[in-house]
């Protein structure tokens, strides 16, 4: 089976400043279906640029990118939008939910833009509800983002990314704004989804978070310097249990002291 993402020697040069910035300098990469990849690197390493190109938000200056066999370079603005809508799911760093819009309506949003689909409002609602169930937030469907915790907001964002059954789920520092416990919670959701066969690519700069993935890519100065499968992979359920025990112990100690 062909890889879902095929990148061949792509470059990205930003010409906007006085000096052209060569952000990505020749990355070649295949991602198979069902993979769970962490893109790592210091700031300025080009990982966000690579992510934007993977997400079809930006075009490479040079090189080819085949997403599910489609050459992205040949598509116009609207065709790219359709591709993002149907083949990709996005989870942004800052959640990027619409404010003053309920969780359910936020999840419905990508389906409202589905170009080739004639889906009834009932079905849209049903599918959005189903995705909220997957991330465990079905009970809070009518809450507004400001009534939800960071982890819950991120889970709404994940549900939104899932709702059009994408080929690849892209997450840009999904745990960047979260505390460690909530991060483990979100990684748990990702691992569950990956177990169901969904391909996930995420950017992170936290090593321990990267250990929940199956494959780690390290970027430096716009090139991949390391590409290896994860040894000693962390399992979210197990880690969660450890955290809970630690918490309980902490409380116990505090309780004993008091």
């Amino acid at each position: 089976m062909a890889p879902v993402v095929q990148i061949k020697d792509i470059h990205k040069i930003y010409e906007s400043g006085e000096v052209p910035v060569h952000a990505v300098r020749g990355v070649t990469l295949d991602i198979q279906r069902g993979e769970f990849v962490a893109l790592m690197g210091a700031s300025g390493s080009g990982k966000s640029t690579l992510m934007n190109m993977l997400g079809c938000l930006d075009r490479p200056t040079r090189g080819t990118y085949l997403l599910d066999g489609i050459d992205v370079d040949k598509l116009d603005r609207n065709e790219l939008a359709d591709l993002r809508n149907q083949k990709l799911g996005f989870v942004f760093q800052g959640f990027n939910l619409l404010s003053r819009t309920t969780a359910l309506e936020n999840v419905e949003l990508p389906m409202l833009y589905g170009r080739h689909r004639k889906v009834s409002m009932e079905e849209i609602r049903e599918r959005a509800m189903h995705c909220l169930e997957i991330v465990g937030l079905a009970k809070r469907f009518d809450h507004f983002p400001n009534q939800l915790s960071g982890g819950q907001q991120q889970r709404v964002a994940i549900a939104r990314g899932l709702v059009n059954q994408p080929q690849v789920l892209l997450a840009d520092e999904p745990t960047g704004n979260l505390d460690s416990k909530t991060s483990v919670e979100v990684m748990g959701v990702f691992q569950q989804l990956n177990d169901q066969g969904i391909t996930i690519v995420m950017v992170t700069h936290e090593l321990d978070i990267a250990h929940y993935c199956k494959r780690n890519l390290i970027l430096r100065d716009g090139v991949v310097v390391r590409d290896e499968p994860v040894q000693n992979r962390l399992i979210a359920a197990v880690e969660m249990e450890k955290l809970k025990q630690a918490e309980a112990a902490a409380k116990l100690t505090v309780g004993a002291g008091a």
Binding site: G55, A81, N85, L109, P110, Y113, G114, R115
Partner: protein, 402 residues
């Protein structure tokens, strides 16, 4: 993307910012309310003038004798003595679409009654006269066709004459003397007030035109014929038919009569009013434009404020066109809903003004449509630029926008 979805998205966006939406619509509400109120006042004034013109009689056509000329001396309109009661009878018999017709002979005479006397207009008319002049009888009755044929000595008097000659009694059944002939009063006209030209219309005695011509003035010609056409649309055809018939009756002689319609009089009267209504509508139109600019401002601010939202929408698959449509729909919804509310406020406001000031106010239905359509149009115009700007945003830049 289906249109219903865009509509849903736009409605959600408006609902999310109820306060902002209301404030934006307020500009439109004020604009449209101003249009409706101003035009209603202007229209009310117009209707009032039209009512005054209509008090002369409805759908009126008048036939006057032409000018008399003899040996190089030319008389004015009405100086010719060739219009006869037979002309009137012929018109009544042969021209269709006529509701009423009355020959008229005018004169001024000293009238005596009750030991009092009074100089007044003594007019010979036909039995249709009160109907044609839109001037009902207050008490008693109008004399009949039979009275005209028998040269009866009967009279119907106006209010002023009644007051002068019968200050404290009911004039019906009393006798007045005109040129020493006794006329029995059979009817009293309602008060008509002053004419457009300033004379007292109620200072009049009406007698059968036949009696007038044979017994009082001894004339052979009549002063005018008043004809009421069946409907406003028939006025022109009746006028033409009357002209044809009279020309025919003249058997090739110079036409010695003039046929005029009431519209010619009404035109002049309504002209001034049209100018007034136009002025008011102009002022109101300016306020509509100001409302539109208000919407454009809010929409522009809204695009900047909602850059991130637009970025999210574009990133998850909205086309530029979808964003454009959404913002356009928002602008149009705001302005046309504002327009509708404005119509309500405008109608309410003009009614209030009417009951407070006693001004006649008539809300014109066409202007309701014009202003609602106009406000939707202003919405499109003022919404397009911000919407276009939103649609052109780059998703990455929009997402990064703080």
């Amino acid at each position: 993307m289906r249109f219903s979805n865009t509509l849903r998205v736009a409605l959600r966006a408006l609902r999310r910012n109820t306060m902002r939406s209301l404030l934006t619509a307020l500009g439109m509400i004020i604009g449209v309310a101003a249009v409706i109120t101003m035009v209603s006042i202007g229209n009310g004034a117009k209707v009032q003038v039209e009512a005054q013109v209509a008090s002369l009689g409805q759908n009126l056509i008048t036939v006057m004798p032409g000018s008399f000329s003899s040996g190089g001396m030319r008389g004015g309109f009405g100086s010719s003595v060739t219009l006869t009661p037979e002309d009137a009878e012929a018109i009544a018999a042969e021209v269709s679409d006529i509701d009423g017709l009355s020959a008229e002979v005018r004169d001024r005479n000293q009238v005596l009654a009750n030991g009092l006397n009074w100089n007044t207009n003594v007019n010979g008319v036909g039995p249709d006269y009160p109907y044609v002049r839109n001037w009902p009888i207050a008490s008693g009755a109008m004399f009949t066709e039979q009275d005209v044929k028998s040269l009866a000595k009967v009279a119907v008097i106006g209010k002023t004459v009644a007051e002068q000659l019968f200050p404290n009694e009911d004039p019906i059944g009393q006798t007045i003397r005109i040129r020493n002939l006794p006329f029995r009063i059979v009817g009293l006209l309602t008060t008509k007030g002053f004419s457009v030209f300033g004379s007292d219309e109620d200072d009049v005695v009406l007698i059968p035109y036949s009696s007038h011509m044979r017994r009082v003035s001894r004339r052979t010609s009549i002063s005018m014929i008043r004809i009421q056409a069946a409907s406003p649309e028939k006025i022109d055809s009746v006028k033409l038919n009357v002209e044809d018939l009279l020309t025919q009756r003249r058997r090739g002689r110079e036409p010695d009569f003039t046929v005029r319609t009431q519209e010619e009089l009404a035109t002049a009267a309504t002209q001034a009013n049209k100018t007034m209504t136009g002025l008011l509508a102009g002022i109101a139109g300016v306020s509509l434009i100001v409302g539109g600019i208000g919407i454009m401002n809010i929409m522009l601010v809204s695009v900047t404020e909602r850059t991130r939202e637009i970025g999210i929408r574009l990133a998850i698959g909205a086309h530029g066109g979808d964003v454009l449509t959404q913002f356009l729909i928002e602008a149009i919804l705001l302005s046309s809903l504002g327009g509708l509310v404005g119509v309500g406020v405008g109608i309410g406001g003009s009614q209030l003004l009417s009951s407070y000031n006693g001004w006649p106010v008539v809300v014109p239905t066409t202007w309701i449509f014009i202003s609602v359509a106009g406000s939707a149009f202003v919405g499109i115009i003022s919404g397009f630029y911000p919407a276009y700007k939103a649609a052109q945003l780059d998703p990455i830049d929009a997402l990064r926008y703080e």
